[in-house]
């Protein structure tokens, strides 16, 4: 696997929203956007809100559809896959092996305990068709992560729906870092966290970087950005 | 004495031909229910009209007829049917199982083993073994055609689950010739083994339901069961109170109003013969 093959290669990407319900209003959020991310890099997307920072992350994850351009992700075998042309099945495979997305909000599923939410990525099947770990081992590992992020053990068996924003975010982070992908997309990972937990997250990001994980992040806190980012990309309104 | 004003065996010849065709088809496909044009008979439905129509279609003037009902030659049903055939055919009648060429029976198989050349005609109330589980005939026909018999085992499973044993004691379903599941008519399960590899021809007639089916001589007839709960027959602790037989199906007879009871052979002919043999040892049955 070549170390110079980018983990993400966005080239000439346009993103246009057509709001059919609002009189066909057209929103051009990105125009001719390009970005390349290499292993070990942490790219900060900066700029005022509404400039399309989250949109870039969602496009990279395949959550949004690009209106034009190409988005290349490096697959597990080293080849680049253009997700604008890929089938849903291929994107699902890439999400399992190539790219992870840490959204700002935890999407809560009823009845699943915090421990199991964090353990779930370890139970997913790897390329050989077997889950990475057995249930008990996965839960033990999840427990270690929850501890590291200072979630009290009394909460581990509860579904996170009633947790505070900060607690939910920490669970989200634990779940995303417990099994890292080569490319990690972080959307405001420390937004609801206190200084202690913020520094833990910084440690996690730096550790991931050291392992060669490529990161694109939106950090509202300039101190966090300074601590983790290797470079910055300033987002501006697309020129008409 | 034969009544000359009635056609031989009551049915007209065309009807007999139709029924014989159905019988041939039934014999060619053991256990398969063949529809036939059941006629109005001088007895109502539920009184053996199916069996009577089968017998009427195969009986000839040189046949010897025995008619039993629950093993007995003397009950009202047996007596009436026997008299019907005497009146319409004039054939010789008998109570002796070994002497008969045709035996029409309601709900029992004679204890005395049958031999080649004899015909046993069963009276059948409900020919479809899956009737109470699947009331739609369109569906049961499909199940038979596709050999989808899981439902029959569901029924047996339910019995085991609720009663600890398979509670069906009569009309116990059987697999004929390894292909069709058949309702053998409400004979006690005690009699089921007698159907297997029987040298005689076994014909089944259901008048109300308008079906005929058959088990040709020397055909395999297996009673359904589970590996760990196989089919088993009834057993009695006592012998017959009249003849002393230990190997026949016994009826329980209440003898007085103090709870006195007697177990007696259901097959009256067999009982009489066993009794006679016991009194005169050496007499062949």
């Amino acid at each position: 696997m070549s170390m110079t093959t980018p983990l993400l290669d966005m080239e000439g990407v346009h993103k246009r929203f057509v709001l059919h319900l609002q009189n066909q209003t057209v929103l051009d959020v990105l125009r001719d956007f390009s970005l390349r991310v290499l292993p070990g890099e942490c790219v900060r997307l900066s700029g005022p809100s509404g400039m399309g920072k989250s949109t870039v992350l969602k496009l990279a994850f395949g959550n949004y559809q690009a209106s034009a351009g190409r988005i290349g992700l490096r697959a597990a075998d080293g080849t680049a896959v253009d997700i604008t042309q890929a089938s849903p099945r291929e994107i699902v495979q890439l999400r399992a092996s190539a790219v992870g997305y840490v959204s700002q909000f935890l999407r809560v599923i009823p009845r699943v305990s915090a421990l199991d939410v964090v353990a779930e990525p370890l139970l997913e099947r790897g390329p050989d068709g077997h889950p990475l770990m057995e249930l008990d081992a996965a839960r033990a590992e999840a427990g270690r992560w929850l501890e590291r992020l200072r979630i009290p053990a009394s909460l581990w068996q509860l579904p996170p729906a009633t947790f505070s924003g900060g607690e939910q975010q920490r669970i989200n982070i634990a779940r995303s870092f417990i099994r890292t992908r080569p490319l990690l997309l972080l959307d405001e990972p420390t937004a609801s966290l206190d200084p202690l937990n913020t520094s833990t997250v910084i440690e996690l990001i730096l550790a991931a970087r050291d392992q060669g994980v490529g990161i694109i992040g939106i950090f509202h806190d300039p101190e966090v950005a300074a601590a983790v980012a290797s470079r910055s990309v300033a987002m501006q309104a697309p020129s008409p | 004495m034969r009544d000359p004003h009635i056609h031989f065996a009551y049915l007209d010849e065309r009807t007999k031909r139709m029924i014989r065709r159905a019988i041939l088809k039934a014999v060619a496909i053991p256990g398969y229910q063949v529809p036939f044009g059941s006629r109005e008979m001088p007895l109502p439905y539920g009184w053996g009209t199916g069996g009577i129509q089968v017998t009427a279609s195969i009986i000839g003037s040189d046949d010897v007829l025995k008619v039993i009902d629950q093993g007995s030659d003397d009950t009202v049903n047996a007596v009436n049917i026997r008299r019907f055939f005497q009146r319409t055919t004039g054939v010789e009648v008998t109570t002796d199982t070994t002497a008969a060429s045709i035996i029409q029976t309601r709900h029992r198989i004679p204890e005395t083993p049958l031999r080649e050349g004899q015909i046993l005609v069963y009276q059948v109330p409900v020919p479809e073994p899956m009737q109470h589980l699947e009331p739609l005939e369109v569906e049961t026909r499909k199940l038979h055609a596709l050999q989808e018999y899981g439902l029959m085992h569901v029924n047996l499973y339910e019995d085991l689950a609720h009663f600890g044993q398979i509670a069906t004691t009569y009309d116990y379903p059987v697999l004929v010739n390894g292909r069709y599941i058949m309702a053998p008519s409400p004979i006690p399960k005690f009699d089921n083994p007698k159907m297997h590899m029987n040298p005689a021809l076994q014909l089944f007639g259901a008048g109300r339901e308008k079906r005929i089916y058959a088990v040709p001589p020397y055909t395999s007839v297996e009673s359904l069961g589970f590996e760990d709960h196989p089919f088993s027959i009834q057993r009695w602790e006592q012998p017959c109170g009249i003849c002393g037989a230990r190997d026949s199906f016994l009826d329980e007879v209440i003898t007085d109003d103090q709870g006195g009871r007697l177990f007696v052979c259901s097959d009256s002919d067999y009982c009489a013969k066993t009794q006679a043999a016991a009194e005169q040892p050496g007499t062949a049955l």
């Binding site: 709001l19 099945r89 | 569901v154 499973y157």
Partner: protein, 263 residues
């Protein structure tokens, strides 16, 4: 991972007399994939499901299923409507499951839960009562029904329990493809959550492929990786579930997504 799809649907058309209700739907389904078919009443989604599950003959197009054969597990794609009825019925009993919206439609209400769950095994020739019962009890536990209720009839069960029983009855033969028609729509909300969680877990554990018809977008998001949006018999949009829900392109999809009230 096998290269061939498990199910291939091409230009499927269904009609009730002159009225077309499914107009040229095509998709492939791979092992382990869950596809949600969403739409409002009259969109044709239930008819589509029934046509793919061989319960309603289409007037055009093909439905092909990879039969369970070959050393690598992936068999030839066979046209299900070219098969004999016997083959189709066997398929429906072994390799397919069908979960009805109303559990009573998918159960025998007059026999015990244990008999309901083990019927498929008996139909396949299993004849050991003790083992049948043990397997049934095991599955009851997996769908969170107290195994002591194995001899009770489903008419003594609550709606949620009946639905879980239906699922056990279908999954005991480890089918590769399960069809579900609004599996949670007739249940109370709290009961729905339990059932959805169970379906999520079971589809993952057993690597089931599934086609789920639902009008509930939240169910689609929770259970399905892929989604098809139907309107008036047409597939107006399809793709990755979260993409269709978060970045809807078609006007109807946008209407659907924006119409859902958040709690």
């Amino acid at each position: 991972m096998s290269q061939a799809p498990l199910l291939r649907v091409r230009d499927l058309r269904c009609a009730y007399g002159a009225r077309e209700v499914v107009r040229g739907i095509s998709f492939d389904l791979w092992p382990g994939e869950v596809l949600a078919v969403v739409g409002e009443s009259g969109s044709g989604k239930s008819t589509l499901l029934n046509a793919v599950a061989a319960r309603h003959a289409p007037v055009g197009g093909t439905v092909e299923f990879a039969m369970r054969e070959g050393p690598d597990g992936a068999g030839e794609l066979a046209d299900i409507y070219a098969m004999t009825e016997a083959q189709r019925r066997l398929l429906a009993r072994t390799d397919w499951g069908f979960v009805h919206q109303n559990a009573a439609d998918g159960l025998r209400m007059n026999v015990s839960a244990g008999a309901n769950v083990s019927e498929r095994l008996m139909a396949l020739g299993q004849r050991h009562y003790g083992r049948l019962r043990a397997q049934a009890a095991d599955w009851l536990q997996r769908v969170e029904i107290d195994p002591s209720r194995i001899d009770d009839r489903p008419d003594t069960f609550s709606g949620g329990m009946r639905q879980r029983l239906q699922i056990a009855r279908n999954l005991i033969t480890a089918p590769r493809l399960v069809f579900m028609d609004e599996p949670t729509s007739s249940l109370d909300v709290s009961v729905q959550a339990r059932l959805l969680d169970m379906l999520r877990m079971l589809t993952r554990q057993m690597e089931l492929a599934a086609i789920i018809v639902t009008h509930d977008l939240a169910v689609a998001r929770l259970l399905a990786q892929r989604m098809v949006v139907m309107q008036g018999g047409y597939a107006v949009e399809s793709g990755l579930t979260d993409q269709v829900l978060d970045d809807p392109q078609h006007p109807y999809t946008q209407l659907l997504v924006s119409s859902v009230l958040p709690p």
